[in-house]
Each structure stands twice: as structure tokens, then as C-alpha cells.
């Protein structure tokens, strides 16, 4: 008979001992008082971990093999696959940042049971990057338009959408390690990965991408243990009442920033990257974030002093809109994208208006204009229709047209002699709390101020192998694709809106 998990787990903890030589100080200091006690709800042991992960890999890679045999990539909706060229590298960046973050946490938490959970998590994050790279290899070799997939990670870090990802996920390994746990394990993994990695697979299946659905669901099965790491750490630090205030502050900060980055990008992928939409993003947010995370998790910690974020109501107000504004911004800069940015047609616009009443008044005119200018023979870009380029938020890196272009909450200010902008009161609060963490990032527009748009595209390297055709296109079914010569003829000059 197999040995009792409970007994073996208890025995393994008895092998813990204090260091008798060397520096006992945690490598990364924390302002929290971290007690020695703490529990892993999964009672994870290395032997069980290895067995479980081997089975997961067998199933997931086996499915990708099957997808190749059955030529399943041919079933994927082009619009879904094109949007994924941005969001999948975004996720891989999150995994990279989490590897570093979890390493810091494991080095600093003086509690063997929790530390073991974080060691397993670190291996998980590496596994996730491998799974995502395998998926990308599948797309490069089997998707009909691999352009963009071939340089996606490099392309991401140059692109404004990639800066949203960098700004958000660098929080995993920047600052206080317990703050990083609140960000990574509690807010991102317990609240937000559910929409990305559980609900979005339903959209993937509806749009023909079964390999993505299988891979994401397998990744999320590891995230479940990461949620438990967050829970175990939360409970450990709540044993000391002096930790309550900093914990609530960290929750406030990371909940706002995560809302900005992930509600914008995941909402965009799931609705503007889909032809078939099984649900609305706002409903998914209500279910997984407001009901399951706040209602069944954070509210249950109320007796221990944990409070829901004070900006929760504002987040709920903005969630129905910010991904539409993100879609508008990403479509407006389509020549700078490393994917084809599909136009929204009449059926899409009807769906948006039906599910987000008032949508057409704010966004409908833009999409009509976008479609009208899609043909390069027209010789004009939608960018030329904008009064000016919107500044990017110094904190979340979204364009300052949030929550909606007609209700922008932009704030412009000077910091150390430089003009900067933030998109909202929430991001302004985050900036002022720790300006040094955010002030150094150079804006995409500042980097290319005064450049011809054609030269920006060449500098980014977003050109197809023929040396002329752009990676980015304004629809997924161009009869005559745009080339760099078409852009050069227009003569559009990038102007940083914050330049004096």
C-alpha cells in the first residue's frame, strides 16, 4: 500500500534545520515580519511533483503531435492567430519575469514548507516557457502566415504592447519580495490568470485553436499550486498584525496595475481577436475576478484585516471599456504591429453594440474609417486622422485614452525636468508612491520623435522576407498588401505628444 501523503509530508518537514554557518539574513529584505510557520495546502513533495508534471507534459505535447497529424492549424481563424502574435509572447514575458521573481521569493522566505512550494513554482514557470515555445514552433511551421511568429519575443520588447507587458510583469521581481507574492501569486495568478488561461481556451476552441486551449489549461493546472503558495504566504504574514497595512497597500497597488494591463490585453485578444465570441469580457471579469476572487477569497480574509481594493468600484466601471480603447489604439498603429490587425465588420459592430450599449457612438466611426482606408491605393493612414498621438502612461504604458477616448482621464506632469503622463488617478497614485520605479522608462514616441514612419518600421524590423511587404496589415485578407514604399509615399512623421 502506498505510504500516507500526510505522514510523509510531515516527516519531510522534520528534516528542516537552521544554518549554523554563514549569513542567515534573507538575500532580499522585506518590510514584512515573516513567521516561521506556513503551510502548503497541496502538501507537494518532489516525487509527486515530478510524476504529475511528466503526465501533464505527455498529455500536452501528445496533443500538439495529434494536431500536426490532423492538420488542425488549418482550422484556426486568422483573426485569432494574428492577435495571438502579441498576446502569447506577452505571456512568455510574464513567465520569464516570474522565474526571477519566484527565485527571489524562495531565497528570502525562511519557511521550508512554503519555500518548497516556491521551488516547484520556479520549475513550473520554466515549464510554461517551454510549452509556449513549443506552441509557437507549431504555429511557425504549420500556420499559414508565420510572419511575426518568427521574431515574436524580440518584436514584443520593441512594441508599445510589449511595454505594457514589461511594465506589468517586472513587478514580479521588483521591490519587496512579499509585495511580489501579493502581485504574482495573489492578484495575477489567483484572480486574473483564470480569464486568460481558463476562459480564453473556450474562445480558442470556438475559433479553431485546440492546441492553444490544451496548452493553456495545462499551464493553469500549475497556477493552481501557485495560488496555494500565495494563500499559504498570505496566511503566514497575517499572523502578525503589523503586516496588515503594507499587505493592503500592496493589494491596492497591484490590483490596479494588473487591471490596467490584463483587462486591456486579455479583453482585446478575446473579443477583437475572435470571430466567434462565446462570452463578453465584462461578464468573465464579474465571474472570475469580482465573484470568485473578491467574493470567495479576499472577503473571507476580512476577519484578518484584509480589505478589498478601494479602487474596485472604479475598476468595475472601466472594465467594460478599456479593451475597446486598446483595440482602437492597436488598430490605429497597425503599420507598427508585427501581426495583421483585422478590421471589425458589420457583424462585429452589431455584436459590440448589443453587448456594450453605447459602443457604436464611441468606436463605430473609427472602425468605419479604418475599413475605408485599408486599401493602400487610397494612400492614407488612419493615424493621419488623429489630432495627435496619445501619450503612453508612465506606469501601465497604455495610451492615455482610458477608459474611453471621449472620457480620457490623462494627467500630465513634470518629474525631474521631464514631461510625463499617466492615464488615471490610480496610475498617478502608483507613480507617486515610488517614482524611481517608473520614471526611467522611455516612451515609444520619444524614441522615434521626428522619424518618418517608414524608417521606424525598418528600424523595428517588421518587414517580410521579400524586403518590401509589411508584417502588419490592416486586415487579414488583403488583396494587395501594404509595402514599405506605400508608407514612404505617405510621409508620416512621428511626433512625441510630450515633446516641448
Amino acid at each position: 500500500m502506498a505510504k500516507s501523503l500526510v505522514e510523509v509530508h510531515e516527516k519531510s518537514k522534520s528534516y528542516d534545520w537552521d544554518f549554523t554557518v554563514g549569513d542567515k539574513t534573507p538575500k532580499y529584505p522585506t518590510r514584512y515580519i515573516v513567521p516561521k510557520t506556513g503551510k502548503d495546502p497541496f502538501r507537494m513533495l518532489v516525487r509527486d511533483y515530478a510524476k504529475m508534471e511528466a503526465e501533464k507534459d505527455d498529455r500536452t505535447y501528445g496533443f500538439i503531435d495529434g494536431s500536426i497529424r490532423m492538420r488542425m492549424a488549418d482550422q484556426i481563424q486568422p483573426r485569432f492567430m494574428e492577435a495571438l502574435k502579441l498576446t502569447l509572447p506577452d505571456l512568455t514575458n510574464a513567465e520569464f519575469q516570474a522565474v526571477a521573481g519566484v527565485g527571489m521569493i524562495a531565497l528570502s522566505i525562511q519557511n521550508q514548507e512554503l519555500r518548497q512550494g516556491y521551488h516547484a513554482q520556479m520549475m513550473d514557470e520554466v515549464r510554461h516557457t517551454q510549452l509556449e515555445m513549443a506552441l509557437r514552433r507549431y504555429y511557425v511551421e504549420h500556420w499559414r502566415d508565420p510572419s511575426g511568429w518568427d521574431l515574436a519575443q524580440k518584436a514584443l520588447y520593441q512594441h508599445p504592447g510589449g511595454l505594457v507587458s514589461l511594465a506589468l510583469f517586472q513587478n514580479f521581481n521588483t521591490g519587496d519580495v512579499i509585495d511580489s507574492v501579493i502581485n504574482l501569486n495573489v492578484v495575477v495568478e489567483t484572480a486574473y490568470t483564470n480569464i486568460l488561461l481558463v476562459a480564453t481556451p473556450q474562445t480558442a476552441i470556438a475559433n479553431g485553436d485546440h492546441a492553444l486551449a490544451t496548452t493553456f489549461l495545462s499551464i493553469q493546472s500549475d497556477e493552481s499550486r501557485h495560488m496555494a503558495n500565495g494563500y499559504g504566504t498570505l496566511f503566514a504574514v497575517l499572523q502578525d498584525h503589523r503586516n496588515v497595512d503594507p499587505l493592503n497597500e500592496a493589494l491596492e497597488r497591484h490590483f490596479w496595475h494588473t487591471h490596467r494591463g490584463l483587462d486591456a490585453l486579455v479583453g482585446w485578444q478575446s473579443e477583437y481577436g475572435a470571430v466567434v465570441r462565446p462570452w463578453t469580457y465584462k461578464d468573465q471579469w464579474q465571474e472570475w475576478v469580482a465573484d470568485d476572487f473578491i467574493g470567495s477569497y479576499i472577503d473571507r480574509f476580512a476577519d484578518h484585516g484584509v480589505k478589498p481594493p478601494t479602487r474596485l468600484g472604479k475598476v468595475a466601471q472601466d472594465v467594460p471599456w478599456i479593451h475597446h480603447s486598446t483595440a482602437l489604439a492597436l488598430a490605429a498603429i497597425w503599420p507598427l504591429n508585427f501581426w495583421r490587425s483585422d478590421a471589425m465588420g458589420p457583424a462585429d459592430m452589431d455584436w459590440f453594440e448589443k453587448n456594450y450599449p453605447g459602443w457604436h457612438d464611441v468606436y463605430g466611426g473609427f472602425w468605419e474609417g479604418y475599413a475605408a482606408l485599408a486599401d493602400p491605393e487610397v494612400g492614407r493612414l488612419i493615424l493621419q486622422e488623429l489630432p495627435s498621438l496619445p501619450p503612453f502612461c508612465q506606469v501601465c504604458q497604455l495610451p492615455c485614452i482610458m477608459p474611453r477616448p471621449d472620457k480620457s482621464e490623462i494627467r500630465v506632469f513634470e518629474y525631474n525636468g521631464s514631461k510625463m503622463a499617466v492615464c488615471s488617478e490610480g496610475c498617478e497614485w502608483i507613480f507617486n508612491r515610488w517614482p524611481e520605479a517608473h520614471a526611467g522608462r522611455k516612451s515609444f514616441w520619444a524614441r522615434y520623435h521626428g522619424w518618418d514612419l517608414a524608417d521606424v518600421i525598418i528600424d523595428l524590423g517588421y518587414i517580410r522576407p521579400d524586403g518590401r511587404t509589411l508584417m502588419g496589415q490592416p486586415t487579414v485578407d488583403m488583396k494587395r498588401p501594404w509595402t514599405i514604399d506605400d508608407i514612404r509615399r505617405i510621409g508620416y512623421e512621428v511626433k512625441d505628444p510630450l515633446a516641448s
Binding site: 497541496f42 489549461l217 467574493g295
Partner: protein, 112 residues
């Protein structure tokens, strides 16, 4: 989605929800687990979403591996059961042959 009242954002919660939930990716193991829980706990709510099943109930949801093995026709332990679990909410407890999710946030084991 849970049939419990939605959590209104921006206002204090009258009382924390007692609801817990688990999402199992669609597979043979999962279909057996869903059939079992449907029989054992007619009160739980099960929603099929192509790629996964979301199972939600009040207080506690529990899967016994011995009973699941019998239904499946081959042995399954907690490790392999967890391969099928994409996510959950509530308090997870993995113990000998049982995976359970509780709404009670602080069990005895965490009080020491």
C-alpha cells in the same frame, strides 16, 4: 457562473460567499469525476464550457480517489486527478486519496 448573488464591486460585502469552485479540463478522468459528483452531490452546479467543466457548490466539494477509480475502471490518485484540474477557488486540501475545497478559510492545520 455561480447562482450565488454577484459580488458588487465598490461596496462592502454583506457577508463573504460560501461558494467554492473547481474547473476540470475536459478529459476521460474529468468526465468520470463530473458524473460522480453529479450523483453524489445533486446540489452542485456544473457548467460545461467546451474546454472545461466548472463545478461550484456551497461549503465544500470533495473528490474521493477510491470511488473515482472504481467509476473510471482504473486507478487514479490525487496527483493524476490534479493533472486535470485547471483552477479552483476556496481553500484546497490535498490529503490521502482525497481532494477537497472548503469555503472555511482557516482550518485547524493552519492554526498551529
Amino acid at each position: 457562473m455561480s447562482e450565488q448573488p454577484s459580488r458588487s464591486a465598490g461596496v462592502a460585502a454583506p457577508a463573504p460567499r460560501e461558494t467554492v469552485g473547481i474547473s476540470l479540463m475536459t478529459s476521460a478522468d474529468t468526465e468520470a469525476a463530473v458524473a460522480m459528483i453529479r450523483e453524489e452531490r445533486p446540489d452542485v452546479r456544473i457548467s460545461f464550457r467546451e474546454a472545461f467543466y466548472k463545478i461550484e457548490g456551497e461549503g465544500v466539494i470533495e473528490f474521493d480517489m477510491a470511488r473515482l477509480s472504481e467509476r473510471l475502471g482504473r486507478p487514479i490518485d490525487t496527483d493524476i486527478f490534479l493533472v486535470n484540474m485547471s483552477t479552483y477557488y476556496g481553500r484546497m486540501v490535498v490529503s490521502d486519496g482525497v481532494v477537497a475545497i472548503h469555503s472555511d478559510i482557516q482550518p485547524e492545520r493552519f492554526r498551529d
